[in-house]
């Protein structure tokens, strides 16, 4: 990508203004991105501790460190925190906020004040959700299935109202990104010159705007049913609990793509940058992002195969779900083709991107298995499903977040980090992940149900292996935190473009100035002009 912008000044977004107040009232998309980073990392730490507690309880049959009621609550908070507070805002709100305007040569997002409001929505929503801890916690699982979520004497109302408020954070971010992409592209930045991360964020934003309101209303209906006794989902009041699952998954299945589409965007950036080769099939990857976003709205019924949904609906949903494999495979094949004859550098971001390819493919293929009704009837609500969605969400999204953090770290903080220790984190997380979740495929196929506090002695060995894997992942992420902190406070000064990448953000200083570019960039070529 050719541009005419390189900053030569010490003023940057980090030192442009000083003091906590300047951060809490900032309208700079980069600072808001950093605030999201800190928030998401904090929530990830809390959700991670809950995960460790769960795996410790499951290290042996029977009671280990907690009783069943505590286990249900910890499982619920682990899921809710990781989904609503970590993975959904993780890439769009943190890396998307920071990188999107830089990617398209803009000074900021279209609505900077709305951007700040989005962050406050996340914070307020999270605080309301955590208030449930003072009301006996929540023990429904992150899916809040009715009628139990209506009848349980726990703090469900606070949790769903919190999720409702956090939903606005997601909607406003999506709206902001759509308008930014349409209105604020630099001169010469046509749609077909946009980096693929922007395409991923754009597709994600469409889902955020279209699907999130459905979840918001559904969760509000639960609150109404709990507080006012209106019969919507509770069968004793004339309601339909399967209808709740329809409404919930109409959002929550596309939400999986809110998590994975921007992750795929990161992978496109990293693979082409560290192969030093033009991406293979740019338009195919861009269109497949839109294709995945569109198909994602037609497949939610595969979560309801054994929930009482009709067989006719089940067969239709099963067939449509298979279609998701097409645009997804287009991406994977194009990334693989990009690697072919590339000058591959195994820097930490690339290691995580290759890890993503491996793990996400396993997650995707097992997803197709679960979309097959006959197989799903056997595997539904077993650990096979737990392994599948962790391969997608952790093996996919979290690996991509790590790739993205290590890729844009020099741009964000103007510092380099320890390449050696970053590689160590990859090894620990990648191996730990497979040791944790691959045995869960076997446990699920053997019939171990998910969400259960206890299990048969026959499952002990695999559960023990899984727990050891979880501790390895935990160690990997703790070291990653150390790598990041060491880089921020004591890392070498980073040049403007340490990786030799071609997209627009690498033409400005590291860290970027307050207005992103010293002069407005004029784009004259595509984003991946390698060879």
């Amino acid at each position: 990508m050719s541009a005419t912008a390189t900053a030569h000044t010490n003023d940057n977004y980090l030192n442009h203004e000083k003091g906590l107040w300047s951060w809490l009232t900032t309208l700079d998309h980069k600072r808001i991105g950093i605030m999201y980073m800190i928030t998401v990392m904090l929530f990830f730490f809390i959700g991670g501790i809950f995960a460790m507690l769960l795996r410790t309880e499951l290290i042996a049959p029977g009671r280990t460190i907690m009783g069943p009621e505590t286990y249900n609550r910890i499982m619920t908070y682990h899921g809710t925190i990781m989904v609503f507070m970590v993975i959904i805002p993780g890439i769009p709100a943190f890396l998307g906020n920071f990188v999107l305007p830089l990617h398209i040569g803009a000074k900021d997002v279209a609505f900077p004040k709305l951007n700040l409001v989005s962050w406050y929505c996340l914070i307020v929503g999270a605080l309301v959700a955590f208030t449930s801890l003072f009301y006996n916690g929540v023990d429904t699982g992150w899916t809040f299935y009715t009628p139990y979520s209506i009848r349980t004497q726990t703090g469900v109302t606070f949790m769903v109202v919190g999720a409702f408020i956090m939903g606005f954070s997601s909607i406003l971010t999506g709206l902001n990104f759509i308008v930014t992409v349409h209105k604020l592209r630099a001169p010469g930045m046509t749609f077909w010159r946009m980096p693929l991360f922007v395409w991923g964020l754009y597709s994600t934003a469409i889902i955020q705007v279209l699907a999130t309101p459905v979840l918001a209303i559904t969760l509000l209906l639960i609150a109404c049913e709990r507080l006012l006794g209106v019969g919507i989902f509770d069968p004793t009041l004339g309601g339909d609990p399967v209808l709740f699952e329809h409404f919930f998954w109409f959002y929550s299945h596309p939400a999986v793509y809110i998590m994975i589409l921007p992750a795929m965007g990161i992978i496109s950036e990293v693979i082409t940058a560290f192969s030093h080769k033009t991406i293979f099939g740019y338009k195919a990857i861009a269109f497949s992002s839109i294709g995945i976003a569109a198909v994602s709205f037609f497949v939610w019924g595969h979560h309801l195969f054994v929930a009482g949904q009709s067989e006719v609906a089940g067969i239709i949903f099963s067939f449509i779900t298979m279609l998701v494999g097409v645009p997804t495979a287009i991406k994977v094949f194009n990334w693989t083709a990009t690697l072919y004859k590339g000058s591959i550098e195994f820097k930490p971001p690339m290691l995580f991107a290759l890890g993503f390819l491996f793990l996400f493919t396993i997650g995707g293929v097992t997803g197709i298995m679960l979309a097959t009704i006959a197989l799903d009837v056997h595997l539904h609500d077993t650990y096979f499903v737990v392994a599948h969605f962790h391969y997608v969400m952790v093996g996919g999204t979290l690996m991509a977040i790590m790739a993205g953090i290590y890729y844009w770290f020099p741009k964000i903080f103007g510092r380099m980090y320890s390449q050696f220790w970053a590689r160590i984190t990859f090894v620990l997380i990648f191996i730990g992940f497979n040791v944790t979740f691959f045995p869960q495929f076997i446990l699920g196929a053997m019939g171990m149900p998910r969400r259960y506090y206890d299990y048969l002695p026959a499952f002990t060995a695999l559960n023990r292996i899984s727990s050891i894997g979880a501790y390895t992942i935990g160690l990997g992420f703790l070291i990653a935190l150390g790598v990041i902190l060491q880089g921020i406070f004591a890392g070498e000064k980073a040049p403007a473009n340490p990786w030799g990448a071609k997209t627009l953000e690498w033409t400005t200083a590291s860290p970027p100035p307050h207005d992103n570019f010293a002069v407005e960039p004029i784009v004259t070529a595509g984003p991946y002009e390698y060879r």
Partner: protein, 119 residues
Amino acid sequence: MAQNKVAAEAHGHGDGHAGHHIVPMSTYVKVLFALLALTALTVAVARPVSGFDAGIFNTLIAFLIAAVKASLVLGIFMGLKYDKKLNLAIFFTGVFFLLVMLLFCLLDIYTRVHVQSTL
């Protein structure tokens, strides 16, 4: 208005704000009365109030009246009638996905086989 247009074009946004349609007050008043009349009609055809009963069409009638009211609000009050067609397309995209959700839910509900429990 001219100054606004220059300012908008200077910022690269000269593609719609300057040509904003001004709706006469009389139109707003007519729409207001139309909405009030349709609200009265909704009440009038409600079985518990008036005893009017169209059987299975009761809900359909209520939805039709509501759809006309929503169209008036969107078209006139929110300006969709005078806005760029892209905005209309975006609106109908939302409606399309709402229909997708409702149609699949109805497909499930009306094709379920109800089996009497033997427990």
